[in-house]
């Protein structure tokens, strides 16, 4: 797989493994991220993985472009990346599907020619991998959907998507940590708290590289879990 280094200004370098959404490229990205993180280079402030690239934000007065380029190319050469793709224990994410929690479930079922139950069962049967976090703090883009759930975005985006919505579009799934506008198909909602600014170690529930396993729950379970988590 070809890789390119691209300058994002004088304080960031992007290592690119392709231009498409590609789980193999993402595995290479995560391997390069891990390799670079292990070096603990002085002057690096952020390592931002995406589906297809790894960007290093750094202070060029503390770390030279040359040294970082060398380190990045070395990290990119982790040929064992695919073989050693980290087997991460899945995080179980309870989701209450359909009804007021997932107003688009019926339409998605109709569009794909399946029953609502089949859509839910398919979502609960796959490992969803966090390819990147973006758009909003803690907003995970998840890969691993079955191909038949690859749907374009809604023609008209909603002005308000409720926080904690589980949604799909463009061959990806996502969970909205915040209320926001959005054009994805809303299938359900999780009672989990997705962002905690008081937890400086890990403010976002999910991080790039995490694997999620969806578990369907009933509305009363959603309510009791939410109450429980609020008081926890």
């Amino acid at each position: 797989m070809n890789q390119h280094l691209r300058e994002l200004g004088d304080g960031a370098l992007t290592l690119e493994f392709g231009e498409r959404i590609d789980p193999d490229a993402n595995a290479r990205v995560m391997a390069a991220r891990d390799a670079l993180q292990a070096l603990g280079l002085d002057g690096v402030t952020d390592l931002v993985p995406t589906w297809r690239s790894l960007t290093v934000h750094f202070d060029p007065l503390r770390l030279s472009h040359e040294a970082l380029r060398r380190a990045l190319l070395q990290a990119a050469a982790q040929e064992s990346a695919l073989a050693t793709r980290r087997s991460v224990a899945p995080t179980v994410v309870p989701v209450c599907f359909g009804g007021e929690f997932g107003p688009d479930l019926a339409e998605v079922a109709a569009t794909t020619g399946r029953s609502e139950g089949e859509v839910v069962a398919a979502l609960c049967a796959v490992d969803l991998r966090v390819a990147l976090i973006g758009f909003l703090p803690g907003f995970p883009y998840l890969g691993g959907l079955p191909d038949w759930l690859d749907l374009p975005r809604r023609a008209t985006p909603r002005t308000t998507v409720p926080a904690n919505s589980f949604a799909i579009a463009g061959g990806q799934a996502a969970i909205y940590p915040w209320q926001s506008p959005g054009g994805w198909h809303l299938l359900g909602r999780t009672p989990l708290r997705l962002f905690d600014p008081d937890n400086a170690e890990r403010p976002a529930r999910f991080a790039p590289g995490d694997v999620l396993r969806i578990e369907a729950i009933a509305p009363d379970e959603f309510e009791s879990l939410r109450q429980h988590l609020r008081h926890a």
């Binding site: 300058e7 004088d10 690119e16 007065l61 472009h65 758009f135 909003l136």
Partner: protein, 330 residues
């Protein structure tokens, strides 16, 4: 304790920002002009990264429960109103606000300005920063009725600035962006030879520019990759957007260029209607400019002296010609 009586929307509490969380989608945030933040803080006797109120267009009206020392970096119309009458407030020097007096920042004339208090303003500190980021409710809001604690330091001695760092007045310097090959030669030429005007959509996330449409080769949309303050992305309509401190961490539009670090503070002064030109430089030139900017700021910080007399503003401005800060066209 400071009590905010009124605070126009664009004003917000900012410090050096929130690095280290961009992989989790948390924007960098922080002062649009970190150099002026550092100067305001130094005049108030604070560390460079203490939190201060960033003001655009106008600033807050506030009172302090105890005697306080404050300083403003930037051009402003401001006054202190108290029982003993009204007195004018000058920028670039620290001044006392006595208990019960009201500080009114009526207008900001330099695009952006910073109001620092001795001891630093202690709003909520979340993820290592007090910078306000509205969309995720990080940091304390600057709203009427909000009380903000000020750290110890009210006894700091008054200081004034002896040397204002020049911010330059040439074109905004850029290096080619990660997707510069997604633009036609004509678009690249047009980008570097045209004048752009900051449109009405201008906030801490970015500035939308009006000017010639920049034509893509093979479409505007990319599979999202990381962006950074200073990145210039061009959506399908061909109108560039310069990203600023509160920008998202990733973006799906091709980026034609990235503003160099040394010129980012100047961009923070831009307002709707500000005219901008861009010039391409090499990475080596960008790094040299960064070093020079750091040295110039250090020289200004070194030249902050105890305030024993009225400042000679005419001499201060004459020495540095800060006009370029306001209009970066020439």
């Amino acid at each position: 304790m400071l009590e905010i009586l009124a605070c126009p929307f664009p004003a917000s509490l900012q410090d050096a920002g929130r690095p280290g969380y961009r992989h989790l989608g948390v924007p960098l945030s922080g002062a649009l002009d970190p150099e002026w933040l550092a100067l305001a803080n130094a005049l108030a006797g604070n560390a460079a990264d203490a939190a201060a109120i960033e003001m655009r267009l106008a600033g807050p009206r506030l009172t302090s429960g105890t005697d306080a020392l404050f300083a403003i970096a930037g051009e402003i119309d401001a006054r202190i109103v108290g029982a003993a009458g009204t007195r004018a407030v000058a920028p670039w020097r620290s001044q006392r606000l006595h208990a019960g007096e009201e500080l009114r920042i009526d207008a900001v004339k330099s695009g952006v300005a910073y109001l620092a208090f001795a001891g630093g303003i202690e709003g909520r500190r979340e993820l290592g920063s007090r910078s306000r980021y509205e969309r995720a409710d990080l940091g304390s809001p600057c709203l009427p009725g909000v009380a903000l604690k000020v750290g110890a330091g009210a006894t700091a001695i008054p200081r004034r600035l002896g040397l204002l760092p020049a911010q330059g007045d040439g074109p905004i310097r850029v290096i080619p962006g990660p997707q510069h090959e997604r633009f036609s030669d004509a678009a690249w030429h047009s980008f570097l030879s045209s004048e752009f005007v900051v449109g009405r959509e201008a906030d801490r996330m970015g500035l939308r520019l009006d000017g010639p449409r920049l034509e893509h080769v093979g479409g505007a949309d990319i599979v999202s990759d990381a962006v950074t303050p200073g990145a210039i992305q061009v959506p399908g309509d061909g109108r560039p957007i310069v990203l600023l401190a509160d920008c998202q961490t990733v973006g799906g539009y091709a980026k034609i260029a990235t503003v160099i670090g040394a010129d980012l503070p100047r961009l923070g002064h831009a307002l709707p209607g500000t005219r901008l030109r861009f010039a391409a430089v090499t990475l080596a030139a960008a790094l040299t400019a960064r070093q020079e900017a750091a040295l110039a700021l250090a020289a200004s910080l070194d030249a902050i002296v105890p305030d024993t007399a009225e400042p000679d503003l005419a001499a201060l401005y004459g020495a540095n010609l800060i006009d370029g800060v306001i209009d970066a066209t020439h």
